[in-house]
């Protein structure tokens, strides 16, 4: 009984069942028993959830609320916050469409709104490209590797290695490789081509693609490992049966393996989308989103303008926009695409 109760799972029915079956113990009135059980349940909840809740409130909710508060003020982060001027939603307006003041709207559009939308467009481009490029690559590699062969474990480790590397180390490595006089340039020259005009990272056209290449290298390993894990859960009976029925290798992948790892793919896509919106470390290590924001993301833009330009009110507004975006997209994804995956176990029961 103790174990059952301590598990915290449907404590009340368990106790009732125990009470009816108990012979040696004095029978207590059911109402008092239930009350004690309820108190105990709440004590358990407080004990187990409390510490996590305190951490969550202190390090997640409080900062979010603070940022939302800062975002309503004109504040340089140096002066006392009590002296900051309340300007309502003006910081949001400045980011989204250059502010509401006709005198400064033109200047703010160029100096603030355009870089904001540019950074945001990079985030969405990365989301789109992840689905269009990383997904097929990861799927192809995972399906190819989903069989027994010599060196399988080694191959998997190699594929996963970039994901395990810290962003700072990986970023520095690519900075060296893509240096104007680095290996990448020499290779390109070796085959008669040259690097982009402004260099690999800072060229206004090519900078973003260089960074997307690095992001793909860094994160495609995670997708492959996840897909392989999903594939290992697909019963071999199904594949054998299909093979006996005369299905080709391609038909087996297309009609059996890929549909059956659908939940894994959808979870990966979810992680990828949220990761793309919050993408920061790699672009920051490379060069703070580029000298002219060539590969800025909304997070690097927030950091640049909040900390490096000491525009804390505006930076906070960007942070809130980013939070709101992640939140809405996560909820929408949960409610639509992931809903059937979540509903699945209940139906099965």
């Amino acid at each position: 009984m103790t174990a059952l109760e301590a598990s915290g799972r449907s404590a009340a029915p368990a106790v009732d069942a125990e009470a009816s079956a108990a012979g040696s113990r004095p029978v207590t009135p059911a109402s008092e028993h239930t009350r004690r059980a309820t108190a105990r349940k709440w004590a358990e909840i407080a004990l187990f959830v409390g510490p996590a809740m305190v951490l969550f409130l202190t390090f997640v909710v409080y900062p979010v609320v603070s940022a939302a508060r800062f975002s309503l003020y004109k504040w340089n982060g140096v002066s006392q916050f009590s002296d900051a001027e309340f300007i309502g939603l003006e910081n949001y307006a400045r980011a989204l469409f250059g502010g509401t003041d006709p005198a400064t709207q033109q200047a703010f559009t160029t100096a603030y709104s355009q870089p904001f939308w540019e950074a945001l467009s990079h985030n969405f481009a990365i989301i789109f490209l992840s689905m269009a490029v990383q997904l097929p690559i990861a799927l192809a590699v995972a399906l190819t590797l989903n069989r027994r062969f010599r060196g399988r474990a080694f191959t998997r480790v190699v594929i996963f290695a970039p994901y395990v590397l810290s962003e700072v180390i990986a970023g520095t490595m690519w900075l060296i490789i893509f240096d104007p006089n680095g290996i990448a340039t020499q290779l390109m020259r070796g085959i008669g081509l040259d690097m982009p005009n402004g260099g690999w990272f800072e060229d206004p056209t090519w900078g973003f693609w260089t960074v997307f290449f690095i992001i793909t290298w860094k994160y495609v390993g995670l997708a492959i490992i996840l897909f392989l894990a999903g594939l290992s859960g697909v019963s071999e009976d199904l594949q054998e049966a299909a093979a006996i029925d005369g299905a080709s290798w391609w038909q087996i992948q297309w009609r059996i393996n890929i549909p059956l790892i659908g939940p894994t793919i959808r979870i990966w896509a979810f992680l990828s989308i949220i990761g793309s919106i919050q993408l920061f470390d790699m672009v920051w290590v490379l060069n703070r989103g580029g000298t002219a924001g060539q590969y800025s993301t909304i997070a690097s833009y927030m950091m640049e303008i909040g900390f490096f330009r000491s525009d804390w009110g505006y930076g906070s507004a960007i942070a809130v926009i980013m939070f709101f975006l992640s939140f809405v997209i996560a909820l929408a994804y949960m409610a639509t695409i992931l809903r059937r995956d979540n509903a699945h176990p209940r139906k099965a029961r």
């Binding site: 104007p180 260099g199 900390f307």
Partner: protein
């Protein structure tokens, strides 16, 4: 016991713990000073500045047994952008901390974070002279510099010789001519670490310094008024200069100091002839040698410096120079000993030691005799003979407007912006602060 205490304090021992042991001996109440500075170890693990500050603190503690100094060494950008602002916000700030002067300091002073040193250190302010100006707001002194110097162009005489350049350029026309000769000889004329932003921006600063009168620049620091056409002219001059293609290929992907392909590495390795930089680059260049005395001597033999050449026309004085330095401020609630220790840091003897141990350019005029290197002497000479020295523009304007200015200038280097764009971004940032 008293004898022991007297003994150790007159010896000026370097060991902080011996000073602690004598605490009871002096009549003053014990005081702890916290000190944040940017003297951190470099790639090689060497930390001459941090080591020197340790010695200075130990010496001071030995003389003042009641004072304990707790030092924290923090990387420059972390210190300036994150640690100091948040510490000041929290009300739990270090007593003595790095101060770069200019707009950021003015904002800290306005918020009431800084100790007014005008009266307590009046003698020292007078002794240090005009170099203190960037650490003053409306005549009130909020910090004291221990180092100040102008920037100029570093160059390799052997490459100049190879290209047939016989004299250091003194005008932009002569610089253009030198650039052409170097290109003809197949040598990269000028290296710039535009990937880091500010090294590129310094070219614009120098054009603005020549275009704009002293008053226009100085008053822009507080008025944030950029309506004078000289600001636009600075960008136009930069565009013209970029048109002569004086910089290395892919300069927007080149960093300033890290690695052999950085702008400093290119000059140190003889892959570029010139670089516009502050006096600190002398030591950055040395970092690209193997560190042996012979290698450093060989580098010094083939490394020289000249002031930024004068442009034609413009309202600024042709002999004005861009410069900057490092100093310290006391937190407003710091104990009185903070000001006393700061006075000790900028005292003539400690300044001399700074020049000798770290190779920096001291602010105290009496310490200038400790600068023995001919190139550093030339920089010191240019600093003192300039019609006026203008503090780095980004420091002057503070992080918001200064940062917007740097971004706008880098856009010109990237080909994604123009002269008007720089002014527009400065005006926009000014409207938000």
């Amino acid at each position: 016991m008293a004898l022991l205490a007297a003994c150790s304090s007159t010896e000026a021992g370097e060991d902080g713990s011996s000073a602690d042991a004598t605490d009871g001996g002096s009549g003053d109440a014990p005081v702890t000073l916290t000190w944040w500075h940017n003297g951190v170890a470099g790639d090689t693990g060497e930390n001459s500045l941090g080591d020197y500050w340790d010695t200075v603190a130990a010496d001071y503690m030995a003389d003042h047994p009641n004072v304990t100094i707790e030092i924290e060494q923090i990387q420059n950008e972390d210190l300036q952008r994150t640690r100091i602002p948040t510490a000041l916000q929290s009300g739990d700030a270090p007593d003595l901390f790095q101060q770069w002067g200019g707009g950021e300091m003015a904002a800290q002073a306005e918020a009431g974070y800084l100790m007014d040193l005008s009266d307590v250190l009046a003698d020292d302010i007078g002794r240090l002279g005009g170099g203190v100006a960037p650490w003053q707001v409306d005549g009130v002194t909020y910090g004291l510099p221990f180092q100040f110097a102008v920037e100029g162009i570093w160059y390799r005489p052997s490459l100049f010789e190879e290209a047939g350049i016989t004299a250091e350029p003194t005008t932009m026309a002569e610089l253009d001519d030198a650039v052409q000769k170097l290109k003809d000889a197949g040598i990269v004329p000028i290296a710039v670490g535009a990937s880091d932003g500010w090294p590129a921006a310094h070219w614009w600063y120098n054009f603005a310094l020549r275009s704009c009168s002293q008053d226009v620049v100085a008053s822009a620091g507080t008025s944030l008024d950029f309506s004078d056409p000289c600001w636009l002219d600075a960008g136009t001059q930069l565009e013209d200069f970029l048109g002569t293609e004086p910089f290395q290929p892919q300069f927007t992907s080149t960093v300033a100091q890290t690695g052999a392909t950085s702008s400093a590495g290119m000059v140190a390795n003889g892959n570029a002839a010139m670089e516009l930089m502050g006096q600190w680059n002398y030591f950055v260049y040395e970092g690209f040698t193997d560190g042996s005395d012979e290698a450093i001597a060989a580098l010094h033999d083939d490394l020289d410096w000249f002031p930024m050449p004068a442009t034609d026309g413009g309202a600024g004085d042709p002999s004005a120079a861009m410069g900057g330095g490092d100093g310290f401020s006391c937190y407003v609630d710091a104990p009185a000993e903070c000001a006393d220790f700061l006075a000790y840091i900028v005292s003539d003897d400690v300044q001399r030691g700074y020049a000798e141990a770290v190779g920096g350019l001291p602010v105290a005029p009496a310490a200038s005799d400790a600068v023995t290197d001919p190139v550093l002497q030339e920089i010191a000479q240019t600093t003192s003979s300039a019609a006026y020295v203008q503090l780095w523009m980004d420091t002057l304007l503070g992080p918001n407007v200064g940062g917007a200015m740097n971004d706008g200038i880098v856009n010109i280097f990237n080909g994604t912006g123009d002269a008007q764009g720089v002014v527009d971004m400065m005006v926009a940032a000014a409207a938000t602060s």
